[in-house]
């Protein structure tokens, strides 16, 4: 299980920087190619060169708009979707990294422990009751409040004596997901037909609702969460020693816990508000990166955000092209790929701990 780490040569300062930088460069390339490919692919094909030229035109760097309806397809349909994918992917993976660090547990993920569905309850409530108290930001705000309540509940319920047992965490997730499902069902029961369709599509997780105003609505919580998260990297490293040892090293653990709960709620709300529940990104991405770049959060947090963005852009491209002209809901696709990974991770964690007990 730790063979890969053991085989690594002594971690000098050079290597500590070299590996994350190489991975970052790779991720930027994968993301860039993903954006171009996704922008080019669809019922109306546009060449990558035309896309670059159109971007250059908009930035005032020369180039020209895509001919005919292409320009509109690119800027009003594909780009909003891609940008939303980048935001949602970065938020989900970053939230997963923070939660895993906070719980000291690789199984923590906003989807599995129920934070996503908690935030979804808030979003569905605002759709079902037609709430508009904060204009465009209403769904985001409701998702944030419900997400905040859920993270707090999960945190309080799944901890005992400063530790989180895997069993308690997963069982708490089941309970919270169950309650959230019931509440969503209740709201659907009271909703009219149009709202039901909106809720159902939204619930399966999809980027197809992306528009610029909606992106603007999730941008504040996403940006705030993503900017604040790296500030906690060093302290999250220390938290890996346990709560008391972290306190012995000068970390104000109680304060940090509250801060992280708020940040995770911000990120989850941003991820869920427009695109619904897209699972397993927050679980798989940080885990793979930890294997490649090591567990240090100073590299892990920014790399997770980049990798989450890249993965979601490519996943969405797959979701809308494999069964074209139909579209597989993105949440269904990530669950299909992510669930087996979760099985593997469960078994591995269980083996390492010698059973759940």
């Amino acid at each position: 299980m730790t063979a890969t780490v053991e085989a690594a040569p002594e971690a000098g300062p050079l290597k500590r920087l070299a590996v994350p930088s190489a991975i970052a460069a790779l991720l930027v390339a994968v993301l860039g190619i993903g954006v171009l490919t996704s922008g080019a692919t669809g019922a109306f094909p546009i060449s990558a060169g035309d896309i670059l030229s159109s971007i250059g035109h908009r930035l005032g760097l020369g180039g020209a708009p895509v001919e005919g309806t292409g320009e509109s397809v690119l800027w009003n349909i594909r780009f909003p979707r891609i940008v939303l994918g980048v935001l949602v992917g970065a938020c989900l993976a970053c939230a997963g990294t923070l939660m895993q660090g906070m719980f000291g547990n690789p199984l923590a993920d906003p989807g599995i422990i129920g934070v996503s569905s908690g935030a979804a309850v808030g979003a569905v409530a605002s759709i079902a009751f037609g709430l508009v108290f904060a204009g465009n930001w209403t769904i985001s705000a409701c998702a944030f409040i419900a997400g905040l309540i859920t993270v707090t509940i999960v945190y309080l319920l799944s901890r005992s004596n400063g530790r989180t047992e895997v069993v308690t965490l997963v069982l708490t997730g089941i309970a919270v997901n169950g309650l959230a499902g019931a509440l969503i069902g209740l709201f659907i029961f009271f909703a009219d037909n149009d709202e039901i369709t909106a809720i159902t599509f939204w619930q399966m997780g999809s980027l197809s609702q992306a528009t610029w105003p909606k992106i603007l609505a999730v941008l504040p919580p996403a940006a705030l969460g993503l900017l604040l998260a790296p500030r906690y990297a060093r302290r999250l490293d220390l938290l890996a020693l346990g709560e008391r040892p972290a306190r012995h090293l000068g970390v104000d653990v109680e304060r940090m816990r509250i801060d992280l709960i708020v940040i995770v709620a911000l990120l989850t709300a941003a991820a869920v508000a427009v695109s619904g529940v897209i699972g397993f990104i927050g679980l798989v991405v940080p885990h793979l990166l930890r294997m490649a770049a090591g567990p240090g959060h100073r590299a892990l947090i920014p790399l997770s955000a980049m990798a989450g963005a890249a993965v979601l852009v490519w996943a969405d491209l797959a979701a809308r092209t494999v069964a074209a002209p139909a579209e597989i809901p993105l949440g269904v696709l990530t669950a299909l790929v992510g669930s087996p990974f979760f099985f593997w991770l469960l078994r591995r964690t269980r083996r390492r701990q010698g059973g759940w007990a």
Binding site: E10, R234, A240, P245, R247, H248, D252
Partner: protein, 269 residues
């Protein structure tokens, strides 16, 4: 970042470095410590010995500032420990816990470097690399530096954690059963290490089960019995066969090591 907030220099270790005054601690409604007084001095190794459940680890936790006393005071550098910001406390006292657990596969070098976290943003941060290397050497853990902490044996993990505590450069070092997982050679290493830290001016407090080790390496020894200190002083004075027999409810005989003069406690079998 809060860790960097208002760096302060701890300065030389004051006398006493830490103290508990009339300390009573309740755990789960039961009094675990009953009106204790103890002073901890720089340049001195103080060992806490006593039977299981006597309150040794609780006293150590109280000194560390982990427990809220039911009554009495815990002082660090002459001030109530609760008045300090956690970062300032961390530049003055280091704690080696009984259990060693690291959630993710950090390397040994990274774990030891975590001991330098309190000095982040202070002038002392410039010595980080030097301190980490020195701590690894003192705990005989240099050869483990590149390995994942989670892949080590219990004894190796204990030595790495010890190195983390040394790297923290605290004036007050609290060790909870530092020898528990260690073999004979490394138990002696811990004893010498405690002496080395005391010689550099630190106050060292260690919970020990091995009375011979306590006798050989400590300046003072506090024998605890049911939440009180039954005796405190030089090991030769504290290790009285009758008193030890009473506190542990096990008859013992106490001899003097002909080579070192340290007391040697053997159960009467």
């Amino acid at each position: 970042m809060r860790l960097r907030a208002r760096p302060d220099a701890p300065g030389p270790v004051p006398d006493p470095a830490a103290a508990v005054r009339d300390l009573t601690v309740d755990l789960g409604g039961e009094p675990v410590l009953r009106g204790l007084d103890l002073e901890v001095r720089g340049g001195e190794v103080l060992s806490l010995v006593g039977p299981n459940g006597a309150g040794k680890s609780t006293l150590l936790s109280a000194l560390a500032g982990d427990l809220a006393p039911a009554s009495g005071e815990v002082e660090l550098w002459g001030r109530p420990i609760g008045d300090w910001h956690p970062a300032r406390v961390a530049r003055r006292r280091a704690v080696l816990p009984q259990a060693h657990r690291v959630s993710f596969p950090f390397t040994v070098a990274e774990v030891v470097a975590m001991g330098r976290a309190p000095w982040n943003g202070t002038p002392a941060a410039g010595e980080d690399a030097e301190r980490i290397a020195e701590a690894l050497a003192l705990a005989e853990a240099e050869s483990l530096a590149g390995r994942a902490f989670t892949s080590l044996s219990g004894g190796e993990q204990a030595r790495v954690m010890l190195a983390r505590i040394i790297a923290q450069q605290a004036g007050l070092v609290l060790l909870d059963e530092p020898t528990a997982a260690l073999d004979l050679r490394h138990q002696e290493m811990v004893g010498r290490l405690c002496r080395e830290l005391a010689e550099r001016g630190s106050a060292v407090v260690a919970v020990l089960h091995d009375l011979d080790l306590a006798g050989a390496y400590s300046d003072r020894c506090a024998l605890m019995d049911r939440g009180r200190i039954a005796a405190c002083g030089k090991p030769v004075e504290v290790f009285d066969a009758e008193r030890i027999g009473e506190v542990y409810r096990q008859p013992v005989k106490v001899e003097t090591d002909p080579d070192t003069g340290a007391p040697r406690v053997t159960p009467v079998r």
